[in-house]
């Protein structure tokens, strides 16, 4: 029987994990190991993928991948038994405190061999995805990095000095499940730990999901780098009736263990003291054998020790920790094996040793080693962890999921939520504040204009201030509320854990166009801004999916295009504004789907990689986090308005106000800009947009989309609405929706995929935009439009 065949609610035992390569290793690292109990929680609304529960957390898996996992029914005698990790009696504080990482306990106070004074301590924050690393980083450094509630918010390393300890610099790394990298942002973390050799590691462990989190801890112990384990979300565990014997765990792991709650700012000071101590005194993990000498015949023990002896000299010259290198070689990690530069004889010997392991254990090498690690974890957990029966957060999540991922409700609710977000953003809250700012800016412009006229100020200076600054910058300022409100809603969806669910139930649909459910996350972010959307693709394990998602992101209408839509809706479609907004967003998505089908059949042939993702519990979004994100976006928008847009506005005002002999012109038709842009204007003529001023505004939009409206206002002297027909306005909207993303987004594409792809995106998006706008115009003309 395979995992695919089991019924909803049925619990089975894993017998064998099939498949090959990095994906199989990923399964094993996520705890899908022979002997583990796994329960089918539910199937996605469209029947695929499935939501499974193992080691106390939820995992998604496609049916096709589940087919590779052989399972057998749970023996009757096991049913109803208390799980291994829950067997501890309530013996809190019974063990003696080992005092690791504390002066006066591990070594006499004032002694030891500290690093020279003045050494900058480099610390690394390492942990599973969605374990609260960035929340802890913000606490430790006082910074305001964005956090979310889905796996893989951090895709980049971030540095910051520890608050009150300027001599210590901490790096927040993307979340990883193990030291076998699966996706590109996991490589960032592994490379950092291996190559940069931080003075100490803070390993953050989510105690509500402790077994899977400790898998990384066990691998980090092999790195032989001073380390402190931070048990995060302790408040949640204890509130649900669970507890951890911290002393016992510290003793068994051989590194300091500090219980904390990053969200509630508890235990942070103690954590800082411990990590600074182990970093300064270079107190490494206590040496111990994780592979029991007698455990299951001792096959793994003998295998790892034999390989360790064999590769000792290579590991030393490659600068790799021996224990880590030995287990990676045994697992068959190609990167580490290559780095070690083993000779043919040694490679063959390794092969023989591993083959013997497989024979004795009846498991393949990767599974045997993963199983050894989990055995150690179960020993630690059964001795030190008292798990709650079921956390309140999980019960709450299950209840919410009955609706949000329910068979018949998931997609209608998703459409309803997205509809409500756009309605509230564009029509209710955002619109109210937009009108308010518009009134303010208009009043200030009139006041300044009157004052300048009354003071008889020079005509050119008057023009720069009113025509350049006020009309340029002022016209985009009013869109600030819409953008901030949109990000407010996106932040709520992300922080609550809903976006991860959207990925879950959209997987089957997205697979039809060659993508995986994970692609939905960058795409939804793309409705806010393409730059973080492109960056967010780093969480995707497959290069093919990543490239394809990046190429599709520009089809998602970013928030910077909103001013363009709002401007034209106000001028041409005031009564059916909401229809135009929804129509444009939908058109972007539809053309994106068509493009994806084209990519699938040409550039990116083949299937999307398996969808293996953790589903976090729902959480109430943090007010501070949401406000911080809104402030960041507002600041970013204002900076753009007063930098790029201001300069572009002034440049366009200058070029449109003077002729080639530097004389002020009465009619912009005689300006420098008209002469320059006039050459290219015929290209846009078939779209009904043959006016050179339209071309200039679109070109300026490449710098920042918001500036399209400013440019139209400047070039048409505030009369842009009357210079276009309704059909031309519609065609303009479609072109603006689809043409090249702004320079910042293109730079992000270049950073992720290279210059050729970035140039390709610019050209391709312009071509698609032109064709779509042309079709819209043709259809409009058929219905009698002009």
């Amino acid at each position: 029987m395979t995992l695919r065949d089991i019924e909803t609610g049925q619990t089975v035992i894993i017998d064998k994990v099939g498949g090959s390569g990095a994906l199989r290793q990923h399964f094993l690292d996520m705890g899908v190991i022979p002997g583990a109990e796994i329960t089918l929680e539910k199937l996605a609304p469209m029947g695929d993928p499935m939501e499974l529960r193992l080691h106390g957390y939820e995992l998604t898996l496609r049916l096709a991948d589940a087919e590779q996992i052989e399972v057998s029914p749970l023996p009757d005698k096991v049913k109803g038994e208390v799980k291994r990790s829950s067997t501890i009696s309530d013996s809190r504080h019974s063990s003696e405190h080992p005092g690791l990482g504390e002066g006066g306990k591990f070594h006499p106070k004032g002694s030891g061999d500290p690093l020279p004074k003045g050494t900058t301590l480099r610390l690394a924050l390492v942990g599973n995805q969605n374990s609260g690393k960035t929340t802890l980083f913000n606490r430790l450094t006082g910074s305001k990095q964005h956090v979310g509630n889905f796996p893989g918010v951090t895709v980049d390393r971030k540095d910051g000095a520890v608050k009150g300890h300027p001599e210590a610099v901490i790096t927040d790394l993307p979340g990883i499940y193990s030291m076998s990298p699966y996706s590109s942002e996991e490589i960032v973390s592994r490379s950092f730990v291996l190559d940069e050799k931080p003075h100490a590691i803070i390993n953050i462990v989510d105690v509500t999901n402790i077994e899977r989190n400790l898998y990384l801890t066990v691998q980090l112990l092999e790195m032989d780098i001073p380390m402190v384990v931070a048990l995060n979300m302790m408040d949640e565990l204890t509130a649900n009736g669970g507890s951890i014997d911290v002393n016992e765990m510290e003793l068994m792991l051989g590194v300091p263990v500090v219980p904390i709650s990053a969200a509630k700012d508890q235990g942070i000071e103690e954590l800082v003291q411990h990590v600074l101590h182990v970093a300064r005194y270079q107190e490494r993990p206590v040496k111990q054998d994780l592979c029991g000498r007698t455990e299951k015949g001792g096959a793994v023990h003998r295998c790892l020790h034999s390989i360790a002896h064999l590769i000792e000299d290579h590991a030393e010259s490659a600068g790799l920790p021996l224990r880590f290198a030995a287990s990676k070689v045994a697992e068959g990690d190609a990167l580490i094996t290559e780095q070690l530069g083993l000779e043919q004889n040694e490679l063959e010997t390794v092969e023989h040793i591993a083959a013997q392991l497989e024979k004795e254990r009846g498991l393949d090498r990767s599974a045997a080693i993963a199983e050894m690690r989990f055995s150690f974890i179960f020993r630690v957990c059964s001795a030190s962890v008292k798990k709650p029966a079921e956390s309140r957060e999980h019960i709450r999540s299950k209840r919410i999921d009955r609706i949000l991922t329910g068979k018949y409700t998931a997609i209608p609710v998703f459409i309803l939520i997205m509809g409500a977000v756009s309605f509230l953003t564009f029509n209710v809250i955002g619109k109210f504040f937009q009108d308010l700012i518009e009134m303010g800016v208009g009043w200030l412009t009139e006041l300044t204009d009157a004052a300048l006229t009354a003071s008889n100020v020079n005509e050119v200076i008057h023009g720069i201030i009113i025509g350049g600054l006020f009309e340029g910058v002022g016209s985009v300022l009013s869109f600030l509320p819409i953008i901030v409100i949109l990000f407010f809603f996106l932040s709520l969806l992300e922080d609550s854990g809903y976006i991860a669910r959207v990925a879950f139930f959209m997987d089957k649909l997205l697979r039809r166009i060659g993508l995986s459910g994970r692609s939905i996350v960058p795409m939804l972010i793309g409705f806010g801004c393409s730059v973080p959307a492109v960056m967010a693709t780093r969480t995707m394990p497959s290069e093919r999916d990543r490239k394809m998602t990046i190429l599709l992101t520009p089809f998602m209408s970013c928030s910077a295009k909103m001013p363009i839509y709002a401007f034209f809706v106000d001028a041409f479609f005031p009564d059916i504004g909401w229809l135009i907004y929804i129509g444009l967003y939908a058109l972007g998505v539809v053309i994106g789907i068509i493009a994806a089908c084209i990519y699938k059949g040409t550039l990116f042939k083949g299937e999307a990689v398996p969808f293996v993702m953790e589903l976090p519990n729902y959480r109430i979004p943090g007010v501070r986090n949401t406000l911080m994100l809104m402030w960041d976006k507002a600041k970013d928008f204002l900076q753009r308005a007063f930098s790029v847009i201001l300069i572009a506005s002034l440049a366009v005002w200058f070029l449109s106000s003077f002729d080639l002999s530097m004389k002020l012109v009465d009619d912009t038709e005689n300006s420098i800009l008209a002469a320059a842009a006039g050459f290219l204007a015929p290209v846009m003529a078939p779209l009904g947009l043959g006016d050179w001023r339209i071309l200039v505004s679109l070109v300026c939009g490449f710098m920042a989309k918001e500036s399209v409206v400013s440019m139209l206002e400047i070039l048409y002297a505030g009369d842009a609405a009357t210079a276009m027909t309704t059909l031309a306005a519609l065609s303009f909207l479609v072109f603006s929706l689809l043409y090249t993303p702004c320079v910042a987004a293109i730079a992000a594409v270049k950073r992720e995929l290279g210059g050729k792809w970035a140039a390709g995106v610019v050209f391709w998006q312009c071509l698609v935009a032109w064709l779509a706008a042309f079709i819209v115009r043709l259809v409009g003309m058929l219905f009698g439009g002009v």
Binding site: V457, I461, M535, Q639, F642, S643, V644, I647, L650
Partner: protein, 43 residues
């Protein structure tokens, strides 16, 4: 050209200088992690 014109020219020049400074700073801040820590020169 009167005194007010001169004051306004100075103010406009200061605003432009500020905008250029902001743009340059934005561009620098925009540079991010390439993921290749071993070869990265930005650190």
């Amino acid at each position: 050209m009167n005194v007010l014109d001169i004051i306004l020219i100075v103010v406009i020049a200061a605003v432009i200088a500020g905008a250029v400074f902001l743009s340059v700073r934005r561009k620098k801040k925009g540079s991010s992690c390439c993921g290749d820590c071993a070869k990265c020169k930005k650190r």
